[in-house]
């Protein structure tokens, strides 16, 4: 074929093809004007997602658009192109550096080091209690494997960045990064979620409803044994979740009187982290009772975290004269304000309701040197939830979901307990060297089914808690002559001719335990500590301390009230007593 002929054929074919192409396909290249797509602002996502509303008032969709936070191609006008690289939940911590850090780098870095994300506290306690302090687990490598397995299959479900989609029961879902706490609407729904800084307490309770159950205790809910009464309409009532129930007990006074939520006391720095790699909850928490009840006010400065938080909250005065600051980490307590007339008001963050603050009285019982080691919770705890004897059964050949690997893996744990009860708390020396309530934390009694053999171990520990059931102070008798408060356990305490004796109710050996002390006994009268703690400075009372506390019964027998005049200056009263100048000896 000659070149000129070939050229002509190719030219004719090409011309026909070009005309056909332009006629048939030109519209395809004219996006967005084809298909009636309206060009939207600030990105094209709103062309399709026009019904979506802003996340919150700080992230207006009219300014931020969608791609700023979700990625994808904000210019694209078709779904496939627009969704290249899109992220459904940008608040997951693996995405926050990319999406959130431009504005919130400080918070993003802090939350990643927060114990609620790292779970360093749980890991640390497991390592210490199971590997280092347990009895019966001589093979330390195996003990370590067990601790890791237990963490992965039982504990790891709760952390800020957990994958919420892996929960079959959506009512128990946790995780999702920032959304875990800040999302209040639109969870698992076809609408855009709403974010808030007014975190409802129910969000905190997603996780803080077990262990020592401080979350539920605050609201006066005590987990019951297996069923909820009254039985109504053919089913149990008072459900904590699908399989747990509760009794109504006195709630914390802050909830009873003012309906305060967790966020009313717990600060942004305390919850989100202070930038340090804190191990335990008490390292992260920055609030103390005295921060509100004996507050330190400082001038309110604009353009600070306090103002940002006030603006975000939007329910309380935003230009106070002074606000209180936490004593541990100097976090702004922006809801505790002093106005221009020096009037002090405490505002509930949820709705801005104002309350007059009850300041700590300067009465003798608060200032007495004999009580200077007492944490507020030692006296002001109404009750504590104590879960005794955590029976952990491990089946090596079983299979169970692993919350770290997010798949079913070898090894299965079952958990039971000896008993759960509400009670006046035992006391001991806490992590802060103050006398505070103690409860089991945790008393692990393990049975391992491995290679057709059965092995047993136990790791019995008590832990200091802030039970979150604040109320009127306990009586003097309640602490000084109650064996449980002394850490001896429940039983009969007798004082005869100045000799103290104690016989416990619980008999461990008869109950099939491998230890001979009562399961609720922290220490013996002789000051021998039966159970360990997971904090360096935490311990039960020693012999001198037990005797010293009990010895006070001599005074308390007659002087039962705090208001009694001998307590106004107890040192002077003691001196007078020793000099025989009091009426006691008459």
């Amino acid at each position: 074929m000659r070149i000129s002929s070939l050229y002509k054929i190719l030219t004719i074919v090409s011309t026909i093809f070009i005309v056909l192409f332009l006629y048939l396909d030109l519209d395809f290249y004219d996006a967005p004007f084809q298909k009636n797509i309206k060009v939207s602002s600030p990105d094209q996502c709103m062309s399709c997602h026009s019904t979506y509303e802003s996340l919150d008032k700080s992230h207006p969709i009219e300014i931020f658009g969608c791609a700023k936070c979700h990625g994808g191609n904000k210019f694209a006008t078709n779904k496939i192109d627009a969704h290249v690289g899109i992220v459904n939940n940008p608040s997951r911590l693996e995405h926050t550096d990319r999406f959130c850090s431009e504005c919130h780098s400080d918070v993003v870095n802090r939350i990643k080091m927060n114990p609620m994300e790292t779970q360093r506290g749980i890991k640390h306690v497991l390592q210490e209690q199971w590997v280092e302090k347990s009895t019966g687990l001589d093979d330390k490598e195996f003990a370590k494997e067990l601790a890791q397995s237990h963490f992965a299959k039982a504990c790891a479900s709760c952390h800020v960045n957990q994958d919420e989609d892996i929960f079959h029961d959506k009512s128990l879902a946790k995780g999702g990064g920032c959304a875990d706490c800040h999302r209040v609407e639109g969870i698992f729904k076809e609408v855009h979620p709403k974010f808030t800084t007014k975190i409802p307490s129910s969000t905190c309770l997603k996780c803080h409803n077990r262990s020592n159950r401080i979350g539920t205790s605050y609201f006066g809910k005590f987990e019951s044994e297996g069923y909820g009464t009254p039985y109504k309409n053919g089913e149990f009532t008072n459900k904590l979740d699908s399989s747990r129930f509760y009794y109504e007990l006195p709630a914390d006074v802050h909830h009873q009187k003012a309906g305060l939520d967790c966020i009313d006391c717990h600060t942004e720095i305390g919850v989100m982290g202070d930038g340090r790699e804190n191990i335990h909850m008490e390292d992260a928490v920055d609030i103390k009772c005295k921060d509100c009840h004996s507050p330190e006010f400082k001038d309110f400065l604009p353009d600070t975290l306090a103002q940002k938080l006030l603006d975000l909250n939007g329910t309380m005065p935003t230009s106070p004269k002074q606000i209180a600051y936490s004593s541990r980490k100097n976090a702004p307590l922006y809801n505790l304000q002093k106005d221009k007339n020096d009037k002090i008001q405490f505002y509930r963050k949820r709705d801005g309701s104002a309350f007059d603050l009850t300041k700590m009285s300067d009465k003798s019982y608060h200032n007495s040197s004999i009580h200077e080691r007492l944490d507020c919770s030692a006296c002001h705890t109404q009750w504590i939830a104590s879960c005794y004897g955590c029976h952990e059964v491990y089946f090596e050949n079983g299979k169970q979901f692993d919350w770290v690997k997010k798949e079913v893996t070898k090894g299965k744990w079952l958990e039971f307990r000896s008993f759960l009860r509400f009670e006046s708390p035992s006391l001991g020396i806490g992590y802060n060297e103050k006398i505070m309530p103690f409860a089991p934390g945790c008393q692990v009694i393990g049975t391992i089914f491995k290679d057709k053999k059965v092995e047993q171990f136990h790791a019995m520990a008590m832990a200091g808690w802030e039970p979150h059931t604040t109320g009127k102070a306990r009586t003097c008798v309640d602490c000084h002559i109650d064996p449980a408060s002394l850490g001896l356990g429940r039983g009969t305490l007798k004082i005869k001719k100045e000799k103290i004796t104690f016989s416990p109710f619980y008999n461990s050996k008869k109950s099939g335990m491998e230890f001979d002390y009562a399961i609720d006994a922290f220490v013996s009268l002789e000051g021998k500590q039966f159970q360990t703690t997971s904090r360096e400075k935490a311990r039960g009372f020693n012999k001198e301390e037990v005797e010293g506390i009990v010895e006070a019964y001599k005074c308390i027998l007659c002087h039962r009230e705090y208001e009694d005049k001998i307590y106004k200056n107890f040192e002077k009263s003691k001196l007078l007593f020793k000099e025989g100048k009091t009426s006691c000896l008459k």
Partner: protein, 264 residues
């Protein structure tokens, strides 16, 4: 047939130049990614011209390689030494032009490829002296842009003018037709947002072999030499009349090895 392919090469180059001129009215190097996306999605028929530009350029490379293969298989060269040398020079510059175009889209792939190229230049002796001709600390794509729209088209155009004995523009329709045909058959690669972190970043297909050689720990200087080998062989092809078959085998060997590193 062989002459038709060479004219189609020229036609595709012309299609690419004209579509590129239209795109240049919208493209803003100081806001590169946004302007590419604006061209693609918002400017009326912007996507049409972008795709014409992309596919005509890719086809140009394909037809040029075909043209070279057909010429090499003849073992007889009818053109002068200067015409031959200009053609090899134009081929080398064409890949450079294609590469700068890839960088100009300024998405994650484009910027990453540009960064790899700058690092390659910086770490190559002698070549490092020319780094300021490519690197701009304020607007990353700026100097790639200058090369792409100004120097390279002029240099390639001049080399082509020197290579061909006469310029024929009537094949333009065939070039455009082939471009439209490839637009219907193939999809243009999606642009990747520069903030994407969970994707595998790659350069243009012809540069992937060099990238993988670098990944394998080959020194930048050696990679540069490997890239230049086919052009050196093409130059020597003209002068080593008795070794043309050997050179063809060497070119085939090089192509096979380079293809291996592209797909590794």
């Amino acid at each position: 047939m062989k002459i038709i392919i060479s004219w189609i090469c020229l036609a595709l180059f012309n299609v690419s130049i004209i579509s590129g001129l239209i795109l240049a009215f919208i493209y803003k190097p100081f806001n590169a990614y946004e302007s590419v996306q604006t061209i693609t999605y918002l400017v009326p028929y912007g996507n049409l011209f972008r795709q014409i530009h992309y596919f005509s350029s890719e086809l140009f490379v394909v037809f040029l390689i075909l043209h070279i293969i057909l010429e090499l298989l003849k073992y007889k060269i009818k053109i002068s030494a200067s015409s031959w040398n200009y053609s090899v020079f134009a081929t080398l510059l064409l890949f450079f032009l294609m590469f700068t175009g890839y960088v100009l889209k300024a998405d994650l792939n484009g910027l990453s490829a540009g960064q790899v190229a700058l690092s390659l230049i910086e770490q190559t002796p002698v070549l490092e002296w020319f780094l300021p001709l490519f690197e701009d600390t304020n607007i990353f794509v700026w100097k790639f842009y200058i090369w792409h729209i100004l120097f390279l088209p002029i240099l390639i155009g001049f080399a082509i003018y020197k290579h061909v004995d006469k310029l024929k523009t009537k094949y333009f329709i065939i070039g455009l037709g082939l471009t439209f045909l490839s637009m219907m058959i193939f999809d243009m690669p999606k642009d990747l947002d520069i903030n994407l972190t969970l994707v595998h970043v790659t350069g243009p297909w012809f540069f992937r072999g060099a990238e993988n050689l670098l990944v394998e720990g080959i020194s930048p200087l050696l990679v540069d030499i490997i890239i230049l080998i086919p052009f050196m062989l093409l130059i020597s092809y003209f002068y080593l009349e008795n070794r043309r078959k050997t050179i063809n085998y060497l070119l085939l060997l090089w192509a096979a090895l380079y293809a291996y590193f592209i797909f590794i």
